[in-house]
Amino acid sequence: MITQLAGFADAIHDAQHTFRALLDALARPGIPQTTVSLTPPSGLESSCAATCLTLLDLETSVWLQPGLPADVRSWLVFHTGCRFTDHPHAADFALIWQLNNAPELSEFSWGTAEYPESSTSLLIQLPNLTGGEPITLEGPGILSEIEVSLPMESAFWQQWETMTANYPLGLDCWCFAQNQIMGLPRTSKLTASVYESLGFTKHGYSY
């Protein structure tokens, strides 16, 4: 458990800056935010690494998608002291680097009826924040609607649609590419025209 890599250059102000980016990302879904840059261990995007340093500590348990280099784990332990879990539904944060091979959204914790905040937050690394099928979202933080083209398969959006029908239960995501962040809170829903165009019927899915 040794890491050679430093964390934030300025632990206090870089964390504050990254937190504001995460906050703005979640408060304005679909609008990319920029984090400070740092040298992440191989396997982590710079923005995702900054987020881990900002949000993780000894009070949080983290699920790492299998296949990440061992460096990532030692870097996280050294800089944050976080705990790890092998069970996605037991994690406060889940770090996903290959969305297509990740567990379905229903396998993470959506919280409980009385404490919907006890859900898992997904940290999803993507090659880019654009380039996928355009999707229109609506909900709090979005004035009327916003189009995003995150590189995700329609199966993800199908699961997302099922999940948002269970509001206030659900997952909140941050998507990372390089030093960019895009937020996707559980309140962001696909607009009606989108799920019809993807061939979904509303709330018609079960696992």
Binding site: A15, L23, L26, P140, G141, P168, R186
Partner: protein
């Protein structure tokens, strides 16, 4: 921040040097992380209260410790802070909190609503509309709207989970049967995002409509009660009412006696022991800016 940094030439003054011996913004980093995680959950579930481990602050509970902890977790070196107490920038609570953050962060402060990136408030929303990119922090004495109906938090949590808000409507209806109208003047309950019943903190009902679809991010901190909640920008906030008793705000028969405003919330101020009184804007920044504009235009005319 997404907005361009505010600030006009000539103001605000250069930021002071923070006092040595404190972490930036007073709280330790571990505490900030826990509060930040709570704030993020709050934003994801608008109007839902998130418990947090509220800390002792160098002032008593009831003096805005919840708001201060939220502000301390959000504030950065580039922020320009404004603090108001009942609309005023120059009353004890506002001056103390502003001085506190100047001391422990060395941030720039302002009294102008439009120049601030971060505003902490006790019991008012400024008259000048908030902008996208601004963060607006409320000090909250009692976060639980159901408390006076159901004092058990466990039961109240269940009621929120089941969306069982009927008793609140009954409470409002009892007002109508007694007084012919809903008599709540402040902390008037609202429904956020069509799902969560929320206390807006003791702002006058006059300010309730300003929360609806506001472009700024609104954060709420209750220190003694250990709860944080939030309203993201552009979120529906509806004051509870009945079809035949629609929600309405206060209005006054006279304009502000300083600036002549007819669209602002007025305070009644006793000015002597003969029963003399006057009505003036509660938002001191709004009132002063209007007075300055008027004297400026009067000079131009002269």
């Amino acid at each position: 921040m997404t907005s361009s940094s505010p600030g006009s030439p000539g103001s605000p003054a250069p930021p002071p040097i923070p006092e040595p011996g404190f972490n930036f913004a007073y709280l330790d980093e571990q505490t900030k992380r826990a509060i930040r995680r709570a704030i993020l959950k709050g934003v994801a579930i608008p109007g839902h209260q998130i418990p947090f481990s509220s800390r002792e602050m160098p002032m008593s509970y009831g003096w805005g410790t919840g708001g201060i902890q939220v502000t301390a977790s959000v504030i950065g070196q580039d922020d320009t802070l404004k603090v108001i107490d009942q609309g005023a920038d120059d009353t004890t609570n506002a001056v103390n909190i502003r001085r506190f953050f100047k001391k422990v962060c060395g941030v720039a402060t302002t009294e102008k609503t439009e120049e601030a990136t971060l505003i902490q408030t006790r019991h008012r929303i400024p008259e000048k509309p908030l902008k996208a990119g601004q963060v607006f922090v409320y000090q909250v004495p009692m976060p639980e709207p159901l408390y006076f109906i159901e004092p058990s938090r466990t039961e109240a949590n269940k009621m929120h989970a089941l969306e069982e808000y009927g008793p609140m409507y009954v409470k409002l209806y009892e007002d109508i049967t007694k007084f012919g109208r809903i008599s709540l003047a402040y902390d008037y309950p609202v429904m956020v995002n069509g799902r969560h019943l929320m206390n807006p903190s003791p702002i006058p009902r006059f300010d309730n409509p300003k929360m609806d679809m506001n472009p700024a991010l609104q954060l709420f901190g209750a220190g003694r009660e250990k709860r944080i909640y939030a309203i993201p920008p552009y979120t529906q906030v509806k004051s509870l009412d009945f079809e035949d008793h629609p929600f309405s705000v206060e209005n006054w028969e006279h304009p502000c006696e300083f600036c002549g405003a007819t669209d602002s919330y007025l305070d009644e101020v006793v000015i002597d022991d003969q029963g003399g009184r006057m009505w003036i804007c509660s938002d001191t920044d709004y009132c002063e800016q209007r007075q300055r504009e008027q004297s400026g235009s009067a000079q131009k005319l002269g």
